[in-house]
Amino acid sequence: MEEIKNKLEKILLKATKPARYIGGEIGSVVKDRDKVDVRFAFCFPDTYDVGMSHLGMKILYGLKNQVPNWWCERVFMPEKDFETLMRENDIPLYGLESLDPIKDFDFIGFTLQYELSYNNVLQMLDLAGLPVLAKDRTSLTPLVVGGGPCVCNPEPMSDFFDLFILGEGEEVNLELLRLYEKMKPSNPTKEEFLREAVKIEGIYVPSFYDVDYNEDGTVKSITPNVPEAPARIKKRIIADFDKVYYPDSFVVPFSEIVHDRSVVEVLRGCIRGCRFCQAGFIYRPFREKNIDTIKNETKSLCEQTGYEEVSLSSLSTSDHTKINELLLSLSEYTDGENVNLALPSLRLDSFNEELLERIQAVRKSGLTFAPEAGTQRLRDVINKNITEDEIINTCKMAFEWGYTQVKLYFMMGQPTETDDDIRGIAELSDKILQLYFETPKEKRGRSVQIAVSTATFVPKPFTPFEFEPQATEEQIKHKQEILKSAVTSKKIKLSLHYSNTSVLEAVLARGDRRVCKAVYAAWKKGCYMDSWDEHFQFDKWLEAFAETGIDTAFYANRTRSYDEVAPWSHLDYLVSHEFLVRENKKAHLAQTTRNCKEGCSGCGIKPECGGVYCGGKKTST
């Protein structure tokens, strides 16, 4: 829109990195607004630098824009300096492609990737000039929709959205927009449209469900209040993952972003089932793409973007059934094109040295490792299927190649954790340090540093630990003290930052609908950009919780019984409740569960979902 463009001209140079606010990047899709029937604002509730790195957005952006008469645009949360300038100059939130205000769009879609971005959704709706509460947006458009991993429990955000899209978006987004396109000419009311929309598998309209509570505050029941709404809403899944849409082009930003490179998704889901890891359960089952598909996608992306680096995206790239062949075949192409092949989630132990050297998978300087727990017992509890021997062997190898830094990530506050487990972190770090000194001088690097970071464990829905209490701040501080006194070497560097954000994450992750009021109240008090240290205001959040009668301990620190009705129990993420209970019980016995490749453990996923290992299609050799 000319009007916004002219206003922007006057303020952009006052903003930091203005190229982020004006669009025009290579690969961005600009259409003739008069020839377009459905307009979709894809909003990432964080800054451009963060959002532009996000793969899901690139996929759904390309997918929708393939349809000639639909136009999907990108929208991000402006930095505070630019937000102030926008408000001073009456510039509503606009799409980066057309510079049109998004309040006039048909759909406003948010991807919910992490809890700490929730309040940015409210802030962005407000900046767009829209009421934040769904009930106050009475007309059909814009329809405010949400997707992404956090919608596996969207209850604390349910007051603000018209509908949620559960699971993988490649098919359901098309179905939803097609339905809209079909109904739009007959001018339906919002309710008429939503009643049709819930007939699509994976579409969840929170206002079509009533939630009742028990006297103790737990959820009693969640029941549909319209006949069209199903009792349970099933997440969507792409069964034929090799054939799924993948963009052949990316929007290439001018300013540097967090992950500034081509990305190719090689597999979805994870075979491992670490019990704390939500991604390991909600993206099940494990599916992968064929080598040729991956190679073609890599080639077309590199050619279209001009990036000098391509990265393979997955939860664990090493688990691709033909990983060696894949890497050799890919590196043949990337070497020839002067493109660097980055492999962020590769398990070093699964390769021989030669291949690693050849593909230069890792930087020489640093090795990153996430044992997550300091003792074998606790690693068994969390089902982090890595033994001390494996850790030791990898580090040994790394030191012999001249690595000088090992970064170790641990979690604190996991179920059954004792002080001995915490001391185990120090012992393991020390053992790794000794490995360096045992490496022959002519092989090892000149100095060494072991960097140990710990994060606070946040229990998440649809994991075996969804029943578990989160450790309190006091408990974490105690654990930190123990670790500090157990580490003696100066070569081991501890970063033990404790953040109150983990409390907020815990409440938002497993909260019910009543938490919406606290989110709203906190937003009213000026809380947003909560993932940015400089903007996070915990005191304001505590006020908001207090004023709205939300007891954070009830949501964060309480052990939930197996038969408690979870706030997300009407959502079906295909992994069965019985399996999660079984896994939880095994955790308390420190028993591990084999991964899907070693043998199916019956998590409840049906073979029709296309999992490589589901239904006994393949067993390990």
Partner: protein
């Protein structure tokens, strides 16, 4: 960013190297691309164009590109220059077409040729400066005449240490023409540029506005010429 490689991959060790110089336009949305971002954008554009580009030699080969002058964030220009080299002697027309097809909105390749002058020969550049402000154009004309009639115009220049030191910019200012339209003062100025002394057109404009307490609504600046010592256009 590309990682360090143990062995230079794909580095063509042939001695053949064909230097090319393109003149490009950076206007509209593209004026908000910073110089650092522009370098990356150009590298990617060259890569997409599939031109047989010459990489720097060594352990960390990268696409060789050079910009004789940086263009400040927010300036427009139709006379910007970028140098690079090819491994094959392609026709200028062909190179222009291939690269132009890869330009983002607001950018265009205007011409391509073999470099004549060296970067160090650049001494000046010309700018069109267009100001709208809380004063009428007629008032601004009067003030600008007064500005140019001064013998000394001191501005505070930031040093590397972060302190400020006074610099007289008057000898560096050359007014080529001055016009007005309904709401703008339009100046055409020649300022020192290049490796020696550089005066940013924005700094000159701000010095004027500050001196007379004028609050600008908008300042639009376009670089119109890059010149060498004898007043010829750099090419």
């Amino acid at each position: 960013m590309a990682e360090k490689r143990l062995q230079p991959k794909n580095v063509d060790l042939r001695p053949d190297r064909y230097d090319k110089r393109v003149v490009y336009e950076k206007c509209g949305r593209a004026k908000y691309i910073s110089h650092l971002d522009l370098m990356r954008a150009m590298q990617r554009a060259i890569k997409r164009s599939k031109l047989p580009i010459w990489y720097t030699q060594g352990f960390n080969p990268h696409i060789y590109i050079m910009f004789p002058l940086t263009l400040s964030l927010g300036f427009e220009s139709r006379v910007e220059v970028m140098d690079f080299a090819l491994l094959e002697d392609l026709l200028d027309e062909e190179v222009l077409k291939a690269l132009d097809a890869q330009m983002p909105e607001g950018m265009r390749i205007v011409s391509c040729s073999t470099p004549v002058h060296s970067h160090t020969e650049i001494t000046h550049a010309e700018y069109d400066i267009r100001i709208s402000a809380d004063k009428t154009p007629a008032e601004m004309v009067e003030k600008f005449r007064d500005f140019m009639s001064r013998e000394v115009i001191e501005i505070q220049k930031r040093t590397k240490k972060g302190t400020y030191k006074p610099v007289d910019i008057r000898p560096s200012l050359e007014l080529i023409s001055m016009e007005t339209d309904e709401d703008h003062l339009n100046l055409k100025m020649k300022l020192p540029a290049g490796g020696g002394f550089n005066l940013n057109a924005n700094v000159a404009a701000e010095a004027f506005l500050d001196m007379y307490g004028i609050t600008a609504d908008e300042i639009c600046i376009e670089r119109t010429k890059i010149l060498i010592e004898n007043g010829e256009v750099f090419c």
